[in-house]
């Protein structure tokens, strides 16, 4: 077995509480994470058109060969794959990913991944201690929130031994020991009632939010999985691994005590960031520090296992711990408006979605929508949508608690909201209108707008719509949007520490296998339906399917295109990804090799979606994306009176454009997507991928070139193979 892999994947059959083992070597060609997860799903799920809640749905929780190793960003993440119930109109085969330490403990226990299938007759949790796996009665955990659940399991999983000392594994003297609490992933009450926007929660602040996998756990009567291990992860070249880590720190890193500079932003370059507050760094740190940014209480930082970035807080109150970015941003504006200042109630509000186990992205846009309907006299007590939700309490933790309790209890509008906000809108007869006006900001596959708009940041929209869920990949977003927007006059390149031209040139040389085409990065309106953008979309999909979600380099740090601390402002990509991977595994792959595997995985996924019923005609954004400009005072902002949440922070939207022979950052507010041109772009994209342009289905020739003849055979059997001539 190559370094980095343990060699075994644990297969849990919840129906008969049995376990078997899958050899990792059978799937090693796919890398790890989403690659192996997708390939296993393909093999084990004979009928890919089943519903997410069907017991035959298989969920994989995969590590990567770099999990549990000294690789920054890739050590602690866990990738979850399977059919999720969140997407609309079809719950696509999808993915989610969380930080923390679950995958590392899984590997210390000797497992590269966990495959979950079947359905238990009664609630269970699974206890994994090295190679000992038991199904435990979860009836006393059912109904508990996720934090309480984890605390109870920490005690039960180690037979009541107290933490703070060595925990003996097994009874024999001289046996293995650990000081670690078991890593637990679990669902809260929202997942138990199979709410389609339910999350999986791990520790604090770590969630597989999008996809609705919490609901799948609930449908399978699976409350939690706990894992702790004391085994070793083999590293092929230990010397090379520690050298890579020190190399990264020395040449690309930042002291935690260094003063912030705006040019640190692209690619989230910093070696680390100090906890604490500094008003001069709000734009950069607020997303990472969460409540600690606001709260007048002592705080420190937390990182995922093995990571060099310290992007999450820990607080004196212990409430709001490890929550950053949308974990706290989803409610910040509402809370600020409600109280006019920070109050500790906000810490509690931040913890509530995690305790209940619900996806905050959906909650954010869902609350915006319900509030708008309330303001219009449509939703409220005795109204068309009859609810006693106390809208006057929005901004307080109490409002969230009432809303979540309604979902859990199935009372009031809670029963409808178990299907998520988009399906509730459909049931209430509001979907068409609220998608047209933009009140319901769920623009793609029923997923909530990320705060980064499709019309301005088209790559985000394209990557999402050709895929399965809100893309949530920030490589270009940091470089092209968050970096320039920090400068008052970003259109004047002479005032920028990194000019638009420098940014584009550096990025373009790193876009293997499409390197050397800077127009891939021209985000001007005239270029947004071009083959260049199709190539960029393809690059993003391949990169994500291998390096990001396969090898599980964290999106908060990778890709690292531009780095002002690096040689000639060059970041770690593509050298960094490869350096760590080869050191751990002992393989000798190139960045391009990884991208080829990513393409292969991407093609299997498109085949799965095809078998689930996808056709190119379904790849459409919500109507407001085509019909309304994104501009202040117009479109959804106008419709909402005031856009609450993340997107409300942005008063400008820079992107790099190539105009009159020059690169610059330009504000692209005020544009929309052209329906006809987007349809033409889909054809260009399908051609580039080698898929049938009339259906979007994979072609045999393409699949065979990628070594996926077996996928073509299955598609042919199901009469879903793309036509070669199209």
């Amino acid at each position: 077995m190559t370094g980095g892999y343990t060699g075994k994947i644990l297969r849990l059959n919840l129906t008969d509480h049995a376990t078997t083992i899958i050899r990792t070597s059978d799937y090693e060609e796919y890398g790890g994470g989403i690659g192996i997860g997708t390939a296993i799903f393909w093999d084990l799920v004979q009928d890919k058109s089943i519903d997410a809640f069907d017991p035959r749905n298989v969920i994989t929780m995969m590590s990567s060969p770099l999990s549990g190793t000294l690789t920054p960003g890739a050590c602690g993440r866990t990738e979850v794959n399977g059919i999720g119930p969140q997407a609309y109109p079809i719950g696509w085969f999808t993915r989610g990913n969380m930080g923390g330490r679950f995958s590392s403990q899984m590997k210390f226990a000797g497992w590269d991944g966990i495959v979950i299938e079947g359905k238990s007759d009664s609630p269970v949790w699974v206890r994994i201690v090295n190679d000992e796996v038991t199904f435990e009665d979860a009836s006393d955990l059912w109904g508990l929130d996720t934090f309480t659940t984890q605390e109870k399991i920490w005690i039960e999983a180690n037979n009541g031994q107290k933490y703070g000392k060595w925990i003996q594994i097994g009874l024999e003297r001289g046996g293995a020991r650990t000081t670690a609490r078991p890593a637990v992933v679990c669902i809260g009450p929202i997942g138990e009632v199979k709410c389609r926007i339910a999350s999986l929660i791990h520790d604090a602040g770590c969630a597989v939010g999008q996809g609705g996998f919490g609901a799948v756990f609930g449908a399978k009567n699976l409350k939690a999985i706990s894992v702790v291990g004391t085994g070793s992860i083999n590293v092929a070249h230990p010397q090379a691994l520690i050298e890579a880590r020190i190399w990264m720190k020395k040449h690309f890193g930042l002291s935690p005590e260094a003063s912030y500079k705006k040019e640190y932003m692209p690619g989230m370059i910093s070696w680390t960031q100090p906890p604490g507050t500094d008003p001069t760094t709000e734009g950069f740190r607020a997303a990472n520090l969460g409540v600690a940014f606001l709260a007048p209480e002592s705080s420190g930082g937390v990182a995922c296992l093995g990571c060099s970035r310290c992007c999450r807080p820990r607080l004196a109150s212990g409430e709001g711990n490890q929550s950053n970015c949308v974990d706290y941003g989803f409610y910040k504006e509402w809370a600020t408006e409600r109280f006019g200042r920070y109050t500790h109630d906000f810490n509690r509000a931040v913890d509530l979605p995690q305790r209940y186990g619900i996806n905050v992205y959906s909650v954010r846009r869902g609350i915006d929508w319900l509030w708008c309907l309330n303001q219009r006299g449509i939703c409220g007590h005795g109204k068309e949508i009859d609810t006693d939700l106390p809208f006057n309490l929005i901004g307080e933790a109490k409002f969230l608690e009432i809303l979540f309790d309604k979902i859990v209890n199935g009372k009031d509008i809670g029963l409808d909201l178990r299907d998520g906000f988009v399906r509730a809108a459909e049931k209430w007869g509001r979907l068409e209108e609220d998608w047209r006006t933009g009140l319901l900001m769920f623009p793609y596959w029923g997923y909530p707008e990320h705060g980064l708009d499709v019309r301005t940041e088209v790559l985000w929209g394209y990557s999402t719509i050709v895929g399965d869920r809100d893309m949530n990949e920030h490589g270009f977003n940091y470089a092209f949007f968050f970096y320039p927007m920090q400068f008052e006059d970003y259109t004047d390149s002479s005032k920028l520490p990194i000019t638009a031209q420098e940014m584009v040139e550096i990025c373009a040389e790193k876009l293997i296998p499409f390197e050397g085409d800077p127009l891939m990065l021209d985000m001007s309106t005239k270029n947004q339906y071009s083959e260049h953008l199709a190539k960029l979309t393809a690059w993003q999909r391949y990169y994500s399917r291998f390096w990001l979600q396969g090898i599980q380099y964290c999106d908060f740090g990778w890709p690292n295109f531009v780095n002002v601390l690096g040689p000639n402002k060059r970041g770690l990509t593509p050298e960094g990804e490869v350096k760590f991977f080869n050191a751990v595994t002992g393989k000798n792959i190139t960045f391009a090799d990884g991208m080829k595997i990513g393409r292969k995985v991407w093609n299997i996924q498109n085949a799965i979606w095809t078998l689930q019923g996808r056709h190119r005609d379904m790849l459409r954004f919500a109507p407001y994306i085509y019909d309304l400009d994104l501009d202040l005072g117009n479109g959804p902002r106008g419709a909402h009176e005031r856009l609450i949440g993340w997107g409300g922070l942005f008063s400008t939207y820079p992107q790099p454009v190539f105009e009159d022979g020059q690169w610059s950052f330009k504000n692209v507010f005020g544009r929309k997507i052209d329906r006809a041109k987007f349809e033409e772009w889909k054809t260009i994209y399908y051609k580039l991928e080698g898929w049938d342009t009339s259906t979007g289905w994979p072609k045999r020739s393409t699949l065979e070139r990628l070594g996926l003849g077996f996928v073509a055979d299955e598609l042919e059997r199901k009469r879903k193979l793309g036509r070669e001539l199209n």
Partner: protein
């Protein structure tokens, strides 16, 4: 048959690893680096520095960094029946273990008698020997000079600069002398 414990008058170590648990972010890179350079693989249970985290802890609690203290009065030295656990005179009297002399499972006295929780002597269940922090004097998987005049892997990789090697003997009472303020001028001041 294990020999009777000898009373060892240990000269002071000339270097001590101190930490700042307020600065530490719990990434455990120190543990990963320690296991990697000493054992050539990643294993939390084999790391000679331990970081215990409680995700729901109240700052500054919730993260405990637990390293060998190179004790002035090193009980582990005194109870070792074979002299496996000894001071390395050539390397500043750092307390180290000669694994070839370690009796392993037959003994484990150093582990049992370490007065600190968790024991700073690490049990290697894979090789059946006791291990402890040697300040990287012997790192078979890292081509760097360690020890007092060299580098320590945990310090080198720590992203928070929350570990440091000091020469002055820390206060021996409780954790105070070993969990110190390593925050410099660039560090944000505490809000309370």
């Amino acid at each position: 048959m294990p020999q009777r414990a000898r009373q060892v008058k240990a000269p002071l170590a000339q270097g001590y690893l101190v930490v700042d648990s307020k600065k530490c972010d719990g990434c455990c890179s120190c543990m990963l680096a320690c296991s990697l350079v000493h054992e050539g693989k990643e294993n939390f249970s084999l790391a000679r520095i331990q970081v215990i985290m409680n995700p729901y802890g109240h700052y500054p609690n919730g993260i405990d960094v637990l390293q060998c203290r190179q004790c002035v009065y090193a009980v582990c030295l005194q109870v070792c029946p074979t002299g496996a656990l000894h001071t390395d005179a050539e390397n500043g009297n750092v307390r180290v273990i000669d694994e070839e002399k370690c009796l392993g499972l037959q003994c484990m006295k150093c582990i049992d008698t370490c007065p600190y929780l968790p024991s700073r002597i690490i049990w290697n269940h894979e090789r059946n020997v006791a291990m402890k922090c040697d300040l990287c004097i012997s790192t078979p998987y890292w081509n760097e000079n360690g020890g007092l005049d060299g580098k320590q892997a945990c310090i080198e990789v720590c992203p928070m600069e929350a570990l440091r090697l000091v020469r002055k003997v820390p206060k021996q009472l409780d954790a105070v002398g070993y969990d110190v303020n390593l925050r410099g001028e660039g560090w944000p001041s505490d809000k309370t």
